[in-house]
C-alpha cells in the first residue's frame, strides 16, 4: 500500500513524467525506424541501428571516440541554443519557427565581421546575437502591432534571411569555392577560445567554451522563466495577453521582447557553431538551416524544459551524427535523415503521453 502510494507520487512529479514520456517517444521512434530498416534491407538493420545509437562510440580507439564525442558536443551547443530559442518563445505562447532564419542571420553577421573586419570572437558573437534578436524582433513587431501570425512571418523571414546572408557572405567567400573563408587561416582571433577544454577531448579544437556557455545559458533560461519577474510577465502574456494588459504589463513589448530574446538565442547558436571553425557557410545554400527545425524537435523531446533540452538536444545531435556511420553500401545516405525524422515525428506525442500518465497518476 505504502509503496504503491510512493510509486504514485513518483509518477506525479512533472519531471519524471517528462522523462518517461520522452523515453517512450524515443523508443517508439527507434522501433519504427528499425522496422523501416528491416523492410529495406533486413541484413544490415541491426548494424545500422547500433551505428546510429553509438555515434562516436563507433570508433574502437578511446581517444578517437573521445575526440568525436567532443565534436558531437560542439554541435550540440548550437542546437541547444536553437532549442532554447524555440522553447522560450513557446513558453510565451509563440511558435518561433523563424529560428532557422535568425540562426542564418547570426551566422551571416558573425562570419562577415570575422572575415571582412577581422573582429575578435566576442564581437562577432554579440553581433550574431543582436542580428538574430533583431530578426526575431521583427517577427514580434509584426505580431504585436499588425497581428501577423508569427509562424508564417517566421517562414517568410527564413527564406529572406537565407538569400540575404548568401549575398552578404559572397563577399567573404573563398575565391575558388562557394564557402566562406576558413577562420583558422583567415581570422584566427574570431575563433572561440577553448581555454584548455580541447585537451579533455583528445585535442579536438572545436571543443570551445561555447559548450559550457550553452549549458549555462540553458540554466539561465530556466531561472528566468521560472524564477524571475520577467519570466512571470512573459508567461502571463503568452497565456493571456488581455490579462497581461489588464495587469499593467506591456503586452506588446513583452511579445516583441520574447521574440527578440528567442532570436538572440538562435543567433548566438549560429555564432557557437561557425565561430568554432567546425563549419564554413556555403553561399550557394538553397535550404534553410535545419538547425532551427531540429530545435523544434529537441524542445518537445525535452518536455519544453530548458534543463531537459540539454539532454534532448544532445540526443538529437547524437543520433544525427550517428547517422553518418551507417554503412552506405547497405543503406543510402538519407536513411539516417529518415530515422531522425521518424523520431522527431514521435516527439509530437510527448505531451500526449505525459497527459496520459498524469491521468493515470490522478486516478
Amino acid at each position: 500500500m505504502n509503496t504503491k502510494n510512493e510509486k504514485k507520487r513518483f509518477l506525479e512529479i512533472g519531471g519524471v513524467q517528462t522523462v518517461i514520456a520522452s523515453l517512450i517517444c524515443i523508443i517508439l521512434g527507434l522501433l519504427v525506424g528499425y522496422i523501416v530498416l528491416l523492410c529495406i534491407n533486413p541484413a544490415g538493420a541491426w548494424d545500422a541501428m547500433t551505428s546510429i545509437l553509438k555515434n562516436f562510440l563507433y570508433f574502437p580507439r578511446p581517444e578517437v571516440a573521445l575526440e568525436y564525442f567532443g565534436s558531437t558536443l560542439a554541435k550540440t551547443a548550437p542546437l541547444l541554443m536553437c532549442t532554447l530559442s524555440i522553447l522560450f518563445a513557446y513558453k510565451v505562447g509563440l511558435f518561433n519557427i523563424g529560428a532557422s532564419g535568425q540562426y542564418a542571420v547570426g551566422a551571416g553577421l558573425a562570419l562577415y565581421l570575422a572575415l571582412a573586419y577581422q573582429m575578435p570572437w566576442y564581437v562577432c558573437m554579440i553581433a550574431a546575437m543582436i542580428g538574430g534578436g533583431l530578426l526575431g524582433g521583427i517577427a514580434g513587431i509584426l505580431k504585436a502591432y499588425l497581428n501577423v501570425n508569427e509562424v508564417i512571418a517566421g517562414i517568410m523571414l527564413n527564406w529572406i534571411s537565407l538569400y540575404s546572408v548568401n549575398m552578404l557572405l559572397t563577399n567573404v567567400k573563398e575565391s575558388s569555392t562557394t564557402y566562406t573563408m576558413a577562420l583558422k587561416t583567415n581570422s584566427p582571433d574570431a575563433l572561440i577560445p577553448s581555454l584548455g577544454l580541447d585537451k579533455l577531448f583528445s585535442d579536438n579544437r572545436y571543443v570551445t567554451i561555447a559548450i559550457p556557455l550553452a549549458v549555462i545559458i540553458a540554466i539561465l533560461v530556466w531561472v528566468v522563466m521560472s524564477k524571475t519577474k520577467l519570466g512571470y510577465e512573459l508567461k502571463a502574456t503568452g497565456l493571456n495577453k488581455n490579462a497581461a494588459k489588464y495587469a499593467g504589463m506591456k503586452e506588446k513589448r513583452n511579445m516583441i521582447l520574447t521574440m527578440a530574446i528567442a532570436g538572440c538565442l538562435a543567433g548566438l547558436g549560429a555564432a557557437f557553431l561557425y565561430l568554432s571553425g567546425i563549419e564554413q557557410w556555403s553561399c550557394a545554400q538553397t535550404a534553410v538551416p535545419a538547425m532551427g527545425f531540429n530545435g523544434i524537435a529537441a524542445a518537445f523531446l525535452g518536455g519544453l524544459n530548458p534543463i531537459g533540452s540539454i539532454f534532448s538536444a544532445f540526443f538529437i545531435q547524437h543520433i544525427t551524427s550517428g547517422g553518418s556511420y551507417v554503412d552506405k553500401m547497405v543503406y543510402c545516405a538519407q536513411i539516417s535523415d529518415l530515422i531522425s525524422a521518424i523520431i522527431i515525428y514521435f516527439c509530437g506525442f510527448v505531451l500526449f503521453f505525459k497527459y496520459c500518465m498524469n491521468r493515470k497518476a490522478k486516478k
Partner: protein, 313 residues
C-alpha cells in the same frame, strides 16, 4: 511574354492546389505545415505510376498519375491526422517532422527501387520523358496549356462550391471555427477534421506531381520541392482561406516566381542587372508586406491549431 504567362500559370497551378489543400485542413481546424513533405510524397506516387504504367494510353495514364499522387498524398497526410486529431500532438511540430520525413522517405524509397532494378543505379531520380508529353493539352504558339492547369481551375471551382454550397462545407467550416458548437449539434468533429486533413493530402499530393512535371522530365527526390509548400501557405493566408482569393493570390505569387526565372527575356529587367537572389526573395518579401498590411482583420479559422478534446469544455 508568352513564357512569362506560361510559367506564371504553371507556378500558380501548383500554388493554388497546395494552398487549397492548406485551406481545407485549416478550415477544419488543423494547421497543415507539412504540405511540403506531402507534395514530395504525392509527387513520388505520381512518378511511380508514370514509371510503371507509362505504357497506358495517354488519358488513362494521366488519370492513373493523378490517382497515384492523390492517394499517396492522402495516406501521408494521415500522419498528421492521427497525431493531431487523435493524439493532440502539436501541429506545428508534426508538420515540420513531416517535411523532413517526406524528402527522406521518398529518397530512400526511390533509391531502394532503383537499386532493386540495377545494383549500380544508386540515383534517387525517376525519369518520365515520354509520359510527360501526355500532360500537354494543347498549344497556342509558344504557349502550352497542360491538363494540370485545366484541372487546377476546375478544382478551384469545386473547392469553392464544396466549401460554401454543400452540407459538408458548412460542417467543415463550423469545425474550424467552433468545434464545440459543431459537436453540440451532432457533428463528429474528429471525422470532419480527418476529412479536412485528407483533402489537404489530396491537394498537396496533386500539387506535388504538378510541380515535378511542370518543367522537367526527371525528378531527383533528394531535392524536395524547394519551399513551395511554404509558399503555398503564404498564398493561403494572403487568400484569406477563401478559394476565390487563393486563386488570385496564387496568380500573383506565380507571377513573381516566374519573373525571377524569365526576367532575362525582358530588356528592361535585364538592364537592371539585379542579382537573382533578389528575385528569389521577392515572393517572400511581398507576402510579408502583404501580410503586414492585411493581417489586422485576419480571418483565420478561430479554432485552428487547437486540438479538439470532446471531454473538455
Amino acid at each position: 511574354m508568352a513564357l512569362l504567362l506560361q510559367y506564371t500559370l504553371i507556378y500558380a497551378s501548383v500554388l493554388m492546389l497546395v494552398a487549397l489543400g492548406g485551406c481545407f485542413s485549416e478550415r477544419s481546424g488543423v494547421i497543415n505545415l507539412g504540405l511540403e513533405g506531402t507534395m514530395v510524397i504525392g509527387a513520388l506516387g505520381g512518378a511511380l505510376v508514370m514509371k510503371y504504367m507509362g505504357d497506358l494510353p495517354a488519358a488513362l495514364m494521366i488519370l492513373a498519375v493523378v490517382l497515384g499522387s492523390v492517394i499517396f498524398g492522402m495516406i501521408y497526410s494521415l500522419l498528421l491526422a492521427v497525431s493531431a486529431i487523435n493524439f493532440k500532438a502539436d501541429q506545428t511540430l508534426v508538420g515540420t517532422a513531416m517535411n523532413l520525413l517526406g524528402t527522406a522517405a521518398a529518397t530512400v524509397i526511390v533509391k531502394a527501387i532503383n537499386m532493386g532494378e540495377n545494383v549500380n543505379n544508386v540515383s534517387s531520380s525517376i525519369q518520365y520523358i515520354d509520359q510527360r508529353k501526355a500532360f500537354s493539352a494543347f498549344k497556342i504558339g509558344n504557349f502550352e496549356v497542360s491538363w494540370f492547369m485545366i484541372l487546377a481551375v476546375i478544382l478551384l471551382i469545386v473547392a469553392h462550391v464544396v466549401l460554401y454550397k454543400t452540407r459538408f462545407g458548412l460542417r467543415l467550416r463550423a469545425c474550424g471555427e467552433h468545434p464545440q458548437a459543431a459537436d453540440s449539434v451532432g457533428i463528429n468533429v474528429y471525422k470532419m477534421r480527418y476529412a479536412g486533413v485528407l483533402i489537404s493530402g489530396f491537394f498537396g499530393g496533386l500539387g506535388g506531381i504538378v510541380y515535378i512535371t511542370a518543367g522537367v522530365s526527371e525528378w531527383k527526390f533528394e531535392n524536395g520541392v524547394a519551399g513551395f509548400g511554404f509558399l503555398a501557405l503564404a498564398v493561403m493566408i494572403f487568400g484569406q482561406w477563401e478559394p476565390k482569393l487563393i486563386g488570385l493570390a496564387a496568380l500573383l505569387f506565380g507571377l513573381f516566381r516566374a519573373l525571377s526565372n524569365v526576367y532575362s527575356g525582358f530588356d528592361i529587367l535585364e538592364a537592371l542587372n539585379i542579382p537573382s537572389a533578389v528575385y528569389n526573395m521577392l515572393p517572400y518579401i511581398i507576402s510579408l508586406v502583404v501580410l503586414a498590411l492585411f493581417s489586422r482583420n485576419s480571418r483565420a479559422p478561430k479554432a485552428e491549431g487547437i486540438p479538439y478534446d470532446k471531454g473538455q469544455r
